[in-house]
């Protein structure tokens, strides 16, 4: 659908995410359901109090991977519009790091699509989180993206 691609949104932001504005963008009168996922900074990690987080991204690749998730979501689920916005830089406790909104005429597709989008983002989008504590900082344990198998030897 032409209309779909125009209204989808994939963005990396260095300032706070305006959640209400993202929701407005996916909302349309022909829908009936919007499911959103709001991921925000917890005040602890593995039992240690967190001070703040820093996110960095391989920006052009992260955006390309977010758009790929969008294409997969439209192929797999009968949804209308999708928005995926990820924050970068320093984030304080309680601030939103990622916000996903999906609109759909029927709720099951919106739930499935929103969940697929965040699950896939966490496995495949090149973004990294560093956690700052009272006594130091660590890069969060991450997930290894699925890598292509070795290329066949080219006959040359």
């Amino acid at each position: 659908m032409k209309e779909t691609a125009e209204h989808d949104r994939f963005e990396l932001l260095k300032s706070p995410i305006d959640i209400a504005e993202v929701v407005r963008q996916v909302r349309a009168d022909q829908d009936g359901a919007i499911v959103t996922f709001d991921g925000f900074v917890r005040n602890e990690s593995h039992g240690r109090p967190t001070l703040y987080l820093e996110y960095e991204a391989y920006e052009p690749m992260a955006l390309a991977k977010m758009r790929e998730i969008g294409a997969q979501v439209h192929a797999k689920f009968a949804i209308h519009r999708l928005a995926i916005v990820h924050r970068l830089g320093r984030l304080e406790i309680g601030e939103t790091s990622v916000f996903i909104a999906v609109s759909s005429p029927h709720r099951a597709a919106a739930f499935d699509a929103c969940r697929y989008a965040i699950d896939t983002l966490k496995r495949t989008v090149p973004i990294w989180k560093k956690e700052y504590f009272e006594d130091g900082a660590v890069w969060a344990d991450g997930e290894v993206p699925p890598a292509p198998p070795p290329a066949p030897k080219t006959a040359s």
Partner: protein
Amino acid sequence: MPPVLPNLRVNVLFFGRIRELTGMAHETVEVHAGATLEDLFDKYATRFPQLTAFRASLVASRNQEFTSWNTPLSPNDDIAFLPPVSGG
């Protein structure tokens, strides 16, 4: 003696703990024609021996796509050695 092939330049990007380990966000390097991503990584592992311990957890990318380590490099490729991702 192997045939002398022209060298080529690629852009290498570093992120997260790998950026901290090398102390660089990116650099442009010359590699010999026919070199693969694995060969390029090995050059960095010689310069930064601590990199070796991370090798198993890294994924390689070429021009913003995940790729296999035995992919040959082309002129002006953007190459990155990506640590496990932790967005969201």
